[in-house]
């Protein structure tokens, strides 16, 4: 790997900035008394741990552990469980991205708590990549209260690896720059981390690698990429080059529109009746259609699915889905709701207690490219476009769900269970943090 320094401005250099225990850290910014409390944030419907504080990780609790499985441990160690507060996390995430953009406009928001920055062109303003990394870390901590780690390297895959090292080894002080690290040290670190930790190596591939005697990141660097291509295909070949410090994956500055939109939730309490299921399906359809219009796509297929609680072994189990092709691509909530309810009636079986329902939109096309069909009623279509626009603007203004299709019902007894959710500290006037 070529060790690039700040003077070689043309070789790409990437920084991966990742917030530590993001959801937990967001909760702590506004609840300073929880700074040392072992805590987890639970997924929608208070199901599984989706974020763990360092104290909880140290107890060996894995990501995704269902809450009911860790209740004893929680009692024993006083683990606090928060319901997820996505409104807050989204706001904090946007703040972090806004700050990162001040360092460089070349930025890829990879997930709610991770961004890639391409930094070789802004290095001349800083003593070294590590100094830049420290400044990023310090500014985000000061301005938002969130702790981050920064991994710096000549490829995105290596930057991910560098970030992993920064997280696991306090000696890096939260910033790990592999571009200036002596080869010997780099190989030492690589020999200590399992290949399964590499970005893009899934569980299946990790198993196959094991079988071939490749256990560590270093093994992946030393194997011939061409040989890996024959065994695993071009994606893993590219990954091997990336680990050697050759950038193959470019920054994706604009996220491509989603090819699928899924809207689903588990019910707070089990649901029996078709009416209640229909309310839920209609609500999900409305949400999915809103997302569809946001990305200016049309869909040609809507799927509906319902299922019982698989964790309840003594209960009768049933799960079914149905896909409904649409004659004309659409983004119309009314059309989609009508189809979704039709589909639900096809698959609904009486006598089961349902845990989850949802819809999925597929077969997307960009809106302007659609050819209008000879048989479409243009006048009706113009009305529908205006109606959907009005629907979205009213919901944006007065809060999601202000206007709804009547099928979504009004009491919504099935709504998500979130028993211990924190206030929306940054977005609602009546929920601001209190100071005395």
């Amino acid at each position: 790997m070529s060790s690039s320094n700040q003077n070689s401005t043309h070789a790409p250099l990437f920084a991966l900035v990742d917030v530590n225990n993001f959801y937990v850290s967001c909760e702590r910014v506004f609840a300073p008394q929880l700074e040392k409390t072992p805590m987890v944030v639970l997924s929608n419907n208070d199901g599984c741990a989706v974020a763990r504080s360092a104290e909880v990780k140290a107890l060996g609790v894995k990501m995704g552990t269902p809450w009911f499985q860790m209740k004893d441990l929680a009692k024993q160690h006083g683990i606090l469980a928060c319901s997820s507060n996505y409104t807050l996390y989204h706001d904090m995430s946007q703040r972090v991205v806004e700050i990162l953009r001040q360092f460089t406009p070349k930025l890829e928001v990879y997930s709610v708590d991770e961004s890639f920055l391409q930094i070789e062109s802004v290095l001349n303003a800083h003593e070294s990549p590590t100094h830049l990394g420290s400044e990023i870390k310090q500014r985000i901590k000061q301005w938002t209260g969130l702790p981050v780690c920064v991994g710096i390297a000549p490829s995105k895959t290596l930057a991910k690896f560098a970030n992993h090292l920064a997280k696991k080894n306090p000696s890096f002080n939260g910033v790990c720059d592999l571009s200036n690290m002596p080869k010997q040290d780099l190989y030492q670190w690589m020999s200590e981390v399992s290949a399964a930790e590499v970005w893009g190596i899934g569980r299946k591939i990790a198993k196959r690698l094991e079988g071939m005697g490749m256990h560590t990141v270093l093994d992946l660097v030393q194997v011939s990429p061409q040989m890996m291509r024959l065994q695993f295909g071009v994606v893993i070949e590219r990954l091997c080059y990336e680990l050697r410090g050759l950038s193959c994956l470019a920054l994706e500055e604009v996220a491509p529109p989603k090819q699928q939109i899924i809207a689903s939730r588990s019910f707070g309490k089990l649901v029996l009746s078709l009416e209640e299921l229909a309310e839920s399906v209609a609500t999900h359809t409305a949400r999915a259609a809103e997302k569809l219009r946001e990305q200016t796509s049309l869909t040609s297929s809507i799927s509906v699915f319902i299922q019982t609680n698989v964790f309840m072994r003594n209960e009768a189990q049933y799960s079914q889905s149905i896909q409904i092709p649409l004659a004309h691509p659409t983004d119309d909530t009314l059309v989609l709701t009508e189809m979704a309810i039709k589909g639900l009636k096809e698959i609904y079986q009486k006598g089961f207690r349902y845990k989850k329902a949802g819809v999925m939109l597929g077969l997307m096309t960009d809106k302007p490219l659609v050819q209008s069909s000879l048989f479409e009623d243009h006048l009706a279509k113009g009305k529908s476009v205006r109606l959907m626009k009005t629907l979205d603007s009213i919901n944006t203004r007065y809060g999601a769900q202000a206007l709804r299709v009547a099928a979504t019902g009004t009491d919504q007894a099935w709504k998500m269970k979130s028993e211990n959710v924190s206030p929306k500290y940054t977005s609602h006037w009546d929920q601001l943090p209190l100071v005395s």
Binding site: L434, V435, S436
Partner: protein
């Protein structure tokens, strides 16, 4: 629209449209006539249009670092900060002597004026009924952010004029 301006529009449109394009259009389809035109003198103020007063830009200097709190109690009443007020807090500013700050004391938020001189660090209320908060040697004061503004809405129910 008068007869004369109509004629004028026809003339200008034909002479100004590039040759190739004008050849494709019959005189009856001149596109300029398709939407209503106001033939009056353009407003001399149009260049000076502003978006009006934006309270966000008045109150906030650094958006990603700015948060709001609701004040409980009267400890800062002499500074003009009342129970129920919303305060604007900027985390990007370095707190200096005599700034009003939000600090974390015993795991709770408190709003006080910061005194920091000759090695002394104190948080002082602006209400004689409340005590100063002092920090002994080795006890670090954790400042959450600097208060840069206060917002109050009066709940009068007068009807509109």
């Amino acid at each position: 629209m008068t007869q004369s301006t109509n004629q004028l529009l026809h003339q200008t449109s034909l002479s100004q449209v590039p040759q190739g394009l004008s050849g494709d259009l019959s005189v009856n389809e001149t596109p300029l006539i398709m939407h209503p035109l106001s033939a009056g003198f353009p407003s001399p103020a149009a260049d000076y249009a502003a978006d009006g007063l934006d309270l966000n830009s008045y109150l906030i200097q650094n958006k990603p670092a700015t948060f709001m709190f609701t004040v409980r109690g009267e400890s800062m009443i002499v500074a003009g900060i009342h129970h129920g007020d919303k305060v604007v807090v900027d985390r990007a500013l370095k707190p200096k002597h005599k700034d009003i700050v939000v600090a974390v004391v015993n795991g709770e938020y408190t709003i006080k004026r910061l005194y920091k001189y000759k090695g002394l660090v104190e948080l002082r209320p602006e209400n004689p009924d409340y005590p100063n908060i002092t920090f002994s040697e080795g006890h670090e004061l954790q400042i959450w952010g600097v208060v840069i503004g206060v917002v109050r809405r009066y709940s009068s129910h007068s009807s509109r004029v």
